[in-house]
Subunit: 158 residues, 2 copies
């Protein structure tokens, strides 16, 4: 499980670096599909990962902060790094016996829903990879080569 | 590991169903980013998964068949279902002790490269989710709602 999170963190960092060479207006431009813009996508990925990890720790899940207060590369990076310590510490202490623990929540319709912790972990992994796939299309629209999505050749197994 | 493959297979099937209502020219239209078209993406996902699973079984990895012979929804679906039995049977017999087995190959430059089996498995998982993210953008370009990428609420843990 940890390896796929480590993959996501590496790819995310590569995208942050990719953003350094792209004019901010291209990063903020509203595009077709996904959640709208490159920077909002990165913000959303960071926020969603942290919220679920809070939930799995039994902490209240924070509301998504307004993107208007995080609408620059440096602010999104700061938020990511602020959340990362807690996320990483939870991830490295993950054990297989946590897989079937139950997380019970109230959804937006007021109904009680429950998930297994392993289910949420995999949901978070897939959520990030999916949104990164969207960035790769927008990257070509901007005329730039996207970050590689390859998991091999990242040193994850050395 | 199996759960993420099962997620991918469900999502892929949902995309095949999504394709049923889309004119073939939209499925074959060359788009910006990714491998080019909706149908070629699905073909590519199916081919890459099968090739790596062959490699992990010690079988020769087949060359990618020419897309020209698989350029319709029904042909890609048939190919997917032809490969699926073998892929699923390998996946369901996967055990954790296979994680660090070594797969050694010759890359396109003639150099010897080696990977851990667990690394390849995660590479295949991420590969599909990434490409599906690209389909979701193209889907909105076509003016259609994409298949949900959510892993929760798919019954994977029931």
């Amino acid at each position: 499980m940890l390896k796929l999170f480590q993959y996501n963190w590496q790819v995310r960092d590569d995208w942050f670096t990719w953003c350094e060479d792209v004019p901010e207006e291209d990063l903020l431009k509203i595009r077709v599909g996904g959640v709208g813009s490159v920077l909002y996508t990165l913000f959303h990925i960071v926020d969603v990962e942290y919220s679920w990890i809070c939930g799995l720790q039994g902490k209240p899940e924070p509301e998504e902060p307004p993107f208007e207060t995080y609408d620059s590369l440096s602010k999104v990076r700061d938020l990511a790094s602020q959340y990362h310590k807690e996320v990483e510490s939870f991830l490295t202490s993950w054990t297989n016996e946590m897989e079937y623990r139950k997380l019970t929540e109230t959804d937006s319709n007021g109904e009680t829903v429950s998930f297994r912790h392993g289910e949420i972990m995999r949901h978070v992994i897939a959520h990030e990879i999916h949104h990164i796939g969207q960035l790769s299309v927008w990257s070509r629209e901007i005329g730039r080569k996207p970050v590689t999505a390859n998991l091999i050749d990242r040193g994850l197994y050395e």
